[in-house]
Amino acid sequence: MTELCHLSLSEIRSGLHQGTFSAAELTEAFLKRIDNHRVLNAFIEVLADSARKEAQLCDTRLKRRERAPLLGVPLAIKDMILTAGTRTTCASRMLKDFVAPYDATVTQELKSAGAVCLGKTNMDEFAMGSSNENSAFGAVRNPWNLERVSGGSSGGSAAAVAQRLCAGALGTDTGGSVRQPAAFCGVVGIKPTYGRVSRYGVVAFASSLDQVGVLASNVRDAAILTGVISGYDPLDSTSVNQVVPNFEAHLGQEIKSLKIGIPDEYFIPGMSAEVEKIIKQALKKLEDLGAELVRVGLPHTNVAVPTYYILAPAEASSNLARYDGVRYGRRAADIKDLDELYFRSRSEGFGAEVKRRIIIGTYVLSRGYYDQFYLKAQKVRSLIARDFKCAFERHCDLIACPTAPSSAFRLGEKISDPLAMYLSDVFTIPANLAGLPALSIPCGFDSSDLPVGLQLIGKPWDESTLFKAAYAYESATEWHKRLPPEAGAGPTF
């Protein structure tokens, strides 16, 4: 039974079409697996009953020879994304009983494609975090080593995919929240171009940076899922009317003469020497496959993190102002007046990191500081975007670099040092600031047997080149075939 769960999404799809197994069997196998791996805490809510019902309906449709891109495929959805009729908590006490009154567009797209939703995955509260330790429902453990973080904020989705608790998952990525946990958990994670995927029904953290992303165990699966969720949505005014190509079309093509930019600024003192070595080996492999590596300069890289930690908290402070205890979400008990309604509902509902970021955001937007911080950061942002534009126009087709400066750190290691935590996003943040598509693909393991991820950053709307290059690398390596130890069987040091 468990072996079913180790099939790729595309194998599952074929198996269902050919009648090798049923959607009901498959869903049952995944539900059992989820139950056996509760120690990971990857799910906030497992939707066993509805998943079983959905699977039965899928079997009826499959028997009628109906076809849909994901018919019967069991997936998981980050709890930041609305799923009608079920709780969407954003891993926060503020929304712990909030039942989504409608589906996000991406949820609707998965449903139309016939997917089965196994449950809502754990995450850092309101997507703020890089370790999934900021959840009101407890931290997520890394399947490769239970004493390590899964990464964040889409830690639950990454851990679930890595441990084969689902055939794929949705996450969100604002500063690296799909790519970094993908790297830490040894799976593929992609953040599409800003505007490629609708944000309607996705709880807003930083509106100019948020994108829904995909986590999968291999490149083809990631390409399939990305295709299903991509597309213009009139319900999202930041959605762009850009043709969605078939992302699978270029998989298997050669990457000879593909120019890959290697930015000097992404190999920094303080990053793990082992990670640096593994990344350089991966780059060498790309060269062996025929790609041409060129050095590029992205001179404003060193101010990307401070820029992000001005803009994202500022946007968050505005977006989270809606949680006021009035219309939905937590309302404090026994309130006497309006002030108490606001202060107590919000202070009781939000966790420490969320409060920190709201305060930073409020500060940088306040009178006297707005020009010096917020406006200045927006200008720096345009310079960061321009760095990439120049590199792509003059030198390369895509950029390759590490996803994270280290492999998964220990639970508790950085939680008391917010700034140290923020620095783990140093390589992922620039792509969000510039709105570029970026993905992380497994490229090795360090001496602690923890996964390392290679990041590829592409031109706007050019996810196809990212998938092509990633697929070429994956086909020439075996990293994606390694599985984490079964729960209880792994090292815990």
Partner: protein, 94 residues
């Protein structure tokens, strides 16, 4: 560096309480973060324009037509306290 007083003031703008126990820790953390983000002051931004949307989309409109809205009953289900079609809130006008 940020004083406890200023932390309280900013937090209050965002309608957040800060426990006295948390105040010194929070001031320290915020001070470190604010010192860090100050780095951008040194960046020469020259003629650069502020970027709020990466693709420069502006003025996304739709036709002024009535289309079905979300169902009020469904939406009210998440209200902490409601009565009929109204959400009940504490008295704010004497």
């Amino acid at each position: 560096m940020i004083s406890a007083e200023e932390v309280r003031k900013i937090a209050s703008l965002a309608r957040l309480n800060v426990d006295s126990d948390d105040l010194s820790r929070l001031s320290r953390e915020l001070g470190t973060i604010l010192d860090y983000i100050k780095q951008i002051e040194a960046v020469d931004t020259g003629e650069a324009q502020p970027m709020s949307h990466v693709h420069g989309i502006v003025n996304v409109f739709r036709e002024d037509n009535v289309t079905p809205s979300l169902d009020s009953e469904e939406l009210l289900k998440n209200a902490p306290d409601y009565c009929g079609r109204f959400i009940r809130v504490p008295l704010i006008v004497e």
